[in-house]
């Protein structure tokens, strides 16, 4: 198969890169290695939640925060991608979300603090409208509403934690539960089952009336697990909120996170519908390089390898999750150029003793040139027409600073721009 530019990846970096190419009128093919597990733990687009790993003070203005981070850390992936790539990529994503029928809010100018399922305030940059009423800079008391028999969102836990860390006093946060019609607690059900049911008008209305009955006072807002519709979420949310009669906000749950599914599924469908060819569930590997140019890569599929010949390639892979890197017992190798990216005499060296501190393995990745081309670490590209985005770049660890979304946007946008210029 021949194409202009091939984008490989299943996460936000791949989607932003593909959209960037499409908007520029280029013929891009999106090669989707398979359903990424990150789907199931995704909700908002976080650009920069904390300026470093030791602070609990959130970044108020993500764009200014990233600018400072770039100034302080010239080798950080944000610095490699550049602040302009973050700005332009975010504008592109916001417009795309609108075009795809989402009603998302937020901007690079300000982080919102939204409560998580354990009741912790979390700085978020872009977020669905259905989460916005959770804004912890607003004063109204919060009622966390869970569902009987559904333990993937525990309102009592969220309420107890938030009442201690949110300075509005103990009376301002409480937890209730309502039962759901048709959901017998002796049966297994997941967030996806609930999200489907919420698309039904009668179900929604009944749940709303049960919630209304539990809440006696005015001027509260109601936090519910993020299961308000699987595909028609905008209609589901607004009609449900109207029937509850209080501001309602969604809180992402244990996986599968319906918010992540909604985001990725719709963006992927939208880009397909707007004419981008997509190759499904095909992991890619093996870059064939001659004269400093990648001539083709290969797709693994049933029975045989399919070559993809493109003029340029964007490898927008999210670390281990979609097979960007292969971790043997001692050596982590890259599947395209067969470089040894890291060697560890003992596998424990890849980890920190605590799960809650930065993990060395998360930063393993390709060294890149100042144009995001993979390099052997000497500043020279391994192939002039290959560009990296996402978690496979060395030093890319969004976990502690809460910057997964922004890093994906900035690197995805920049890599696409470079691929067009190649």
């Amino acid at each position: 198969m021949k194409c202009d530019i091939a984008v490989v990846g299943s996460g936000l970096a791949a989607l932003v890169a593909t959209r960037t190419l499409q908007q520029a009128g280029r013929n891009a093919v999106l090669i989707w290695p398979g359903l990424s597990s990150l789907y199931f733990t995704y909700a908002t687009v976080d650009v920069l939640g904390y300026s470093d790993l030791t602070t609990t003070q959130p970044v108020e203005q993500p764009e200014a925060g990233v600018a400072k981070l770039i100034a302080d850390h010239p080798n950080h992936p944000y610095a490699l991608a550049g602040l302009d790539a973050l700005r332009s990529g975010t504008t592109l994503l916001i417009e795309w979300l609108r075009a795809a029928g989402f009603t998302w809010q937020g901007s690079l100018a300000r982080n919102l603090l939204l409560p998580t399922a354990i009741g912790t305030p979390k700085p978020s940059c872009l977020y669905p409208e259905s989460m916005a009423a959770g804004d912890l800079q607003r004063d109204e008391p919060i009622v966390f509403c869970g569902f009987v028999g559904y333990e993937d969102f525990v309102p009592e836990l969220a309420a107890s934690n938030l009442s201690r860390s949110w300075g509005r006093g103990d009376q301002s946060v409480r937890a209730i539960r309502v039962s759901l019609p048709g959901f017998d607690t002796s049966r297994l059900f997941t967030s996806i089952d609930l999200a489907r049911s919420f698309e039904d008008k009668a179900f929604r209305r009944e749940v709303a009336s049960r919630i209304r009955r539990e809440i006696a006072i005015d001027s509260v807002r109601v936090g519910v697990p993020a299961v308000l519709g699987l595909t028609h979420d905008t209609d589901v949310y607004s009609s449900f909120a109207a029937e509850v009669g209080h501001p309602v906000f969604e809180i992402p749950t244990l996986p599968p996170s319906v918010l992540g599914l909604r985001l990725f599924d719709r963006l992927r469908k939208h880009i397909q519908e707007s004419g981008v060819e997509m190759i499904w569930a095909a992991p890619a590997h093996e870059a064939e390089v001659s004269d400093g140019q990648c001539r083709r890569i290969y797709l693994k599929s049933a029975g045989r390898e399919h070559p993809i010949d493109a003029r340029a390639y964007v490898l927008a892979l999210e670390d281990m999750v979609d097979g960007a890197l292969r971790a043997g017992v001692h050596t982590v190798v890259d599947p395209f150029f067969h470089q040894s990216l890291a060697h560890h005499a003992v596998p424990t060296e890849r980890t920190d003793e605590s799960l809650f501190r930065p993990q060395p393995f998360a930063s393993i990745g390709y060294a890149v040139t100042d144009r995001l081309q993979p390099s052997a670490g000497d500043g020279h590209p391994l192939a002039r027409n290959v560009f990296l985005a996402g978690g496979a770049i060395a030093g890319y660890d969004p976990v502690g600073t809460k910057s997964r979304g922004g890093l994906a946007i900035a690197t995805g946008y920049r890599a696409a721009k470079e691929a067009m210029a190649a």
């Binding site: 597990s37 959130p58 107890s160 002796s186 992402p252």
Partner: protein
């Protein structure tokens, strides 16, 4: 006056202590068990789970082998639901192994172990996992898997139904004496620091590798040699039956299919203290390499975690070291040996022979107390009442997992998808005062033992701490984090392949989606912190 009184205080909540507690209660002797951690949190819960046919000991340690034969048969009667009758293979892969075979066959005959030589072709037909290196095979039908957690819980629950008590996180700090007679123990709660005293007529020291520390409180010596063993857990069973190397017992020569996983064992390294159990990379690597010699799929299976346990080998004064030392046990009558009336230690031994050890020490103590009721633990099953513990083996059917021949039920809710744990499996334990941490729930229900290593269920369990135990959010969140950290300590040692993907999902969920790292930091900050976050700027 002591805070409470009882007949006998049993120190140690492993299989031996639990067995003693049950034996005492069945002879009508009032008893309290005290354990400084959780039940089955020491040697027992860190064993490899091999129900010994005796084959591993029949050449070097005939007495221990004979005990295994007898006790294995008794356990199949009284503890059916803790045992999986897998049978086992003893395989030879080298010249040295072949030279060992005649001694093995002779040892089996002497110990009364059923042992059948089968052709490699027949063995491979039954067990396709056997590797190409395998040259000869013996079938030992009485090897199996013994679930050490269910065994301890089953013994303790059986004793509790007869009026006995078990206090976890209760450490013995001293003894009460009246001249040469022990009249009680002093204890301290290892979590709250609360001190209590229990008056009693006799004390049984069933602390295994820790027996020397307890005895030292009375200025007497019990020489126990702590010998570390490292195990590796694979994410699936690999083989249908246990596989042993047919050679002089050595490192990495056992594979035990245990419920949903397989356990590779083990090493033998003397350690200075039973709680100093470092897991060395060479041990992990060696076990996987040696395991691969016996079974295909060991090196390609996903290794999920590694853990280390400690054998409580009793030093009989011989020159023997580590595996050379007997796995036999001894009852030490401190009244006779040291002039301390009412104090008895039970040392050495192994999980497979826990019941016999309990019987012997209880015989002595009961006689001293003038109780003539005979031991019945070899006859009365553990689950002699309708008991959820009994249901383990039937769990997939209860869950409505589709069966090939009809009878399909809708799936029931699950707390832990990896290990198929239902809400009703965990609920009673939240009402049990002996259960203090989420690790304790794990030991009793297997919640969190599967491939995701508590990534998902830890949140649901934290929720139950708030709803069922009325703990506050920060306490429950800390408990959730501790469960994840404990699991992580084992995961780190086998960190390659898909383990990295799993870790990425776990950190994506807890640190990104939940913001757990900041929650823990906020909780650790002084009380003034609440205003800082989310306050109007």
């Amino acid at each position: 006056m002591p805070d409470t009184t009882t007949g006998v205080v049993v120190i140690g909540g492993g299989s031996t202590g639990a067995g003693v507690l049950r034996d005492l209660s069945m002879r009508g002797i009032e008893a309290v068990l005290v354990e400084k951690g959780d039940l089955a949190s020491g040697t027992t819960g860190r064993s490899h789970g091999l129900l010994h046919s005796g084959g591993r000991y029949c050449v070097n340690d005939l007495a221990a082998a004979i005990e295994c034969v007898e006790e294995g048969r008794i356990l199949r009667r009284i503890a059916r639901t803790t045992i999986e009758d897998t049978g086992g293979y003893f395989v030879s892969v080298s010249e040295e192994d072949l030279a060992w075979e005649p001694r093995f066959v002779e040892g089996c005959a002497k110990a009364g172990i059923t042992c059948e030589r089968i052709s490699v072709e027949e063995a491979r037909r039954r067990e396709p996992a056997l590797s190409q290196h395998v040259r000869t095979v013996f079938w030992i039908p009485e090897d199996g898997h013994l679930d050490p957690f269910y065994l301890v819980m089953g013994n303790v629950e059986s004793a509790r139904r007869r009026g006995a008590q078990a206090r976890t996180y209760t450490e013995v700090t001293g003894f009460i004496r009246d001249g040469n007679q022990l009249t009680g123990v002093l204890t301290r709660d290892t979590m709250t620091g609360e001190e209590t005293s229990i008056g009693c007529k006799a004390v049984i020291n069933a602390t295994g590798a820790w027996a020397g520390f307890v005895a030292r409180l009375l200025d007497v010596e019990v020489k126990v040699v702590p010998v570390k063993g490292v195990m590796v857990v694979l994410s699936h069973r690999v083989a249908h039956a246990t596989i042993n190397r047919c050679h002089k017992p050595g490192d990495g020569d056992i594979i035990v299919p245990a419920l949903s996983v397989a356990i590779l064992g083990t090493t033998a390294v003397k350690v200075p203290h039973p709680e100093v159990l470092p897991i060395e990379w060479d041990e992990v690597r060696h076990m996987i390499e040696e395991g691969s010699l016996m079974a295909d799929g060991v090196s390609t299976a996903r290794a999920m975690r590694a853990y280390a346990g400690v054998r409580p080998l009793y030093d009989l004064g011989a020159e023997a070291e580590g595996r050379e030392m007997s796995r036999n046990f001894a009852v030490i009558d401190h009244e006779q040996r040291d002039g301390i009336a009412g104090f008895t230690s039970i040392v050495g031994g192994k999980v497979t022979t826990y019941r016999l050890m309990a019987e012997r020490v209880t015989d002595l103590v009961a006689r001293r107390l003038g109780v003539t009721t005979p031991c019945t633990t070899a006859e009365v099953p553990l689950n002699d009442r309708d008991d959820e513990l009994d249901q383990l083996r039937h769990r997939p059917a209860q869950l409505g997992v589709p069966k090939p021949h009809g009878g399909e039920r809708p799936l029931q809710p699950l707390v832990c998808e990896c290990e198929l744990v239902r809400p009703q499996d965990v609920t009673p334990w939240f009402e049990d005062a002996a259960v203090r941490t989420l690790e304790d729930i794990r030991r009793r229900t297997r919640t969190g033992m599967g491939p995701c290593q508590a990534a998902i269920c830890s949140y649901r369990l934290a929720g139950r701490l708030v709803t069922d135990r009325h703990q506050d959010g920060p306490t429950a969140t800390r408990a959730m984090a501790e469960l994840l950290e404990t699991r992580w300590r084992g995961v780190r040692h086998v960190f390659w392949g898909s383990q990295l993907r799993q870790a990425q999902v776990t950190t994506g969920l807890h640190l990104e989606l939940f913001n757990l790292d900041r929650q823990l930091m906020l909780q650790a900050e002084p009380a003034a912190a609440p205003e800082a976050v989310g306050a109007r700027q």
